[in-house]
């Protein structure tokens, strides 16, 4: 289903035999509306559309020089929309062969992000996914702040059939370190740290994450982001990335109707890959990321 922006873009190019710098401008303006409505960050939209424009004009030039030998098989409007779609897919991708880095004797996954994005639920989903894949995951309840956070992870752990390490009274950096000893003892081969939600501007709590990272050297640091996040996502994602060098991000609540433009912004600004999508509250509702679906959704 094409959004109004897309149809307007195509309309702007109707009646034109070929894409020119002039008529491309009108189409770009329409696509910009679509991207902004999809929550793509303002600066990212601008950079992205400059790239699309450059490519569209570039392609027009090649078509013109080959016009004797080549015939346009689509209308300029459709061609332009195809370029946009293609560029978004390129930006969101590539799809990785292996979203999770594995290491012997165990691999560590650290979940981080703002409050309420779905870290705890996603940690349990990952445990379920890895268990189905024949691995022996362990969950670590490193959120010592939120009321009943440990209970939440323990209940989810029971549901998945995966052990949960908790240590009342320990600071998260110590707790995570102790969890690794426990993992070795219990021969668990994936350790997943569920950390408390925090603001990127909270220096004390961001330092806590840096300390967990320093002591445990996680192989995977996943930033968990809400698909409905707006313009400010770029700021929080770049700050989490700057301080922790995230290895990728997970977009949750994709089962809603948020367009998910934040994904494009985060990818563009951090360069880090999208690993998984959270597509529901159930513990089996986790999918490895594929760019095509998200690209169509962002474009509307």
């Amino acid at each position: 289903i094409l959004s109004k922006g897309f149809n307007n873009a195509k309309a702007a190019l109707t009646g034109h035999a070929v894409l020119t710098p002039q008529n491309i401008d009108d189409a770009v303006r329409e696509i910009r509306v679509s991207l902004l409505e999809a929550d793509v960050e303002v600066g990212v939209s601008r950079v992205f559309l400059d790239r699309v424009k450059e490519r569209a004009i570039g392609e027009v030039v090649t078509l013109e020089t080959k016009s004797g030998a080549k015939k346009l098989t689509t209308t300029p409007g459709e061609h332009f929309v195809l370029i946009c779609h293609n560029e978004i897919e390129k930006l969101l991708g590539p799809v990785e062969e292996a979203p999770i880095v594995f290491r012997r004797p165990y691999t560590i996954i650290m979940m981080v992000g703002l409050q309420g994005t779905g870290k705890t639920t996603t940690a349990a989903k990952l445990a379920s996914y890895l268990k189905a894949d024949g691995r022996r995951p362990m969950l670590v309840a490193a959120d010592i702040y939120r009321p009943a956070a440990v209970e939440q992870l323990q209940q989810l752990g029971l549901r998945v059939g995966v052990p949960v390490y908790a240590a009342p009274g320990l600071a998260p950096e110590q707790l995570c370190q102790d969890a690794l000893r426990e993992a070795k003892k219990k021969k668990r081969d994936v350790v997943i740290f569920d950390t408390a939600g925090r603001l990127a501007i909270d220096d004390v709590l961001m330092t806590e994450l840096e300390e967990i990272k320093r002591r445990t050297r996680p192989d995977n640091t996943f930033l968990v982001c809400d698909a409905m996040a707006g313009q400010d996502t770029v700021r929080t994602a770049s700050e989490f990335n700057r301080r922790l060098d995230i290895t990728g991000f997970i977009l949750t609540k994709i089962d809603g109707d948020a367009r998910g433009g934040a994904a494009l912004s985060i990818k563009e600004v951090t360069g880090k890959p999208i690993k998984f999508l959270g597509v529901g509250e159930g513990l089996d509702r986790l999918e490895p990321f594929r760019p095509e679906g998200l690209a169509s959704r962002i474009l509307g």
Binding site: G116, P147, Q152, Q154, R159, L199, M228, A229, Q231, T233
Partner: protein, 291 residues
Amino acid sequence: RASLWGRLKELIERKPTIDAALYGQLEEALLSADLGVSLVGRLLKDIRARPATSGGGIDGVRTALKAKVLEALNATGADDAPLFDSGATPTVILFVGVNGVGKTTTIGKIAALCRARQKSVVLAAGDTFRAAAVEQLAVWAERTGSALIRGETGADPASVIFNAVNHAKEAHADIVLADTAGRLHTKSDLMDEIKKVKRAAGKARSGAPDHTWLVVDATTGQNALQQAREFHQALGLSGVILTKLDGTAKGGVVVAIADAVKLKVRFVGVGEKPDDLRPFVATSFVDALFA
């Protein structure tokens, strides 16, 4: 790192005339605050249409813009019934919204506010679905000295709310704060469920709930407008609570919500502690938006 308005101010100082480039910058600043492309387009169009005599240069434009945003925030929606002493007892407030926005935490804060005014509070554990949702609310009940009414895991949330309101009536409690499970407005079975929860409150005490508040996360983009539309259509909302305003997101989508759905913000959440709640003051919000 300079704020967008800060950088804008620099640009403006170097270039005192208002031109297309400046309007482009103003547009970007407003869009960055999540006001949304169609509302921003309208605001700027209205500003450009001002008579030339309204002068004031860039400060004039900024003042006019702030006034327009304030107008959108205030000119809509009835003022909510007062939180306390609205006549009916117990006062019943229903909290709804999508997943993870801060409903349960906000209830804890409102409970603290009520308790500070010597009001007796009953918390209704209407999230019978999510892992440890009831336990989470139980901690807030203990923290604030509020009673907690809960059901079995997986119980019908409508029955929990019904029981809570009845309990509050019998105990002569002042206020019932009803927690509900997070739900995406795109799930029709969950939207049917929340309608049922609202009806159950009305069955337990005629006219309840007195307030139905949509909790919105300040980090949310344009989807919050859709959330407001859907929840309002389903339930008839009486206000919005904007959470997580202690972060860097400005929550500008509430201006779009006020403008399009005619709903006002009642309180803002500014942190995770019991006293991190402020009544919404439109002028301070607009000042922060343009800071």
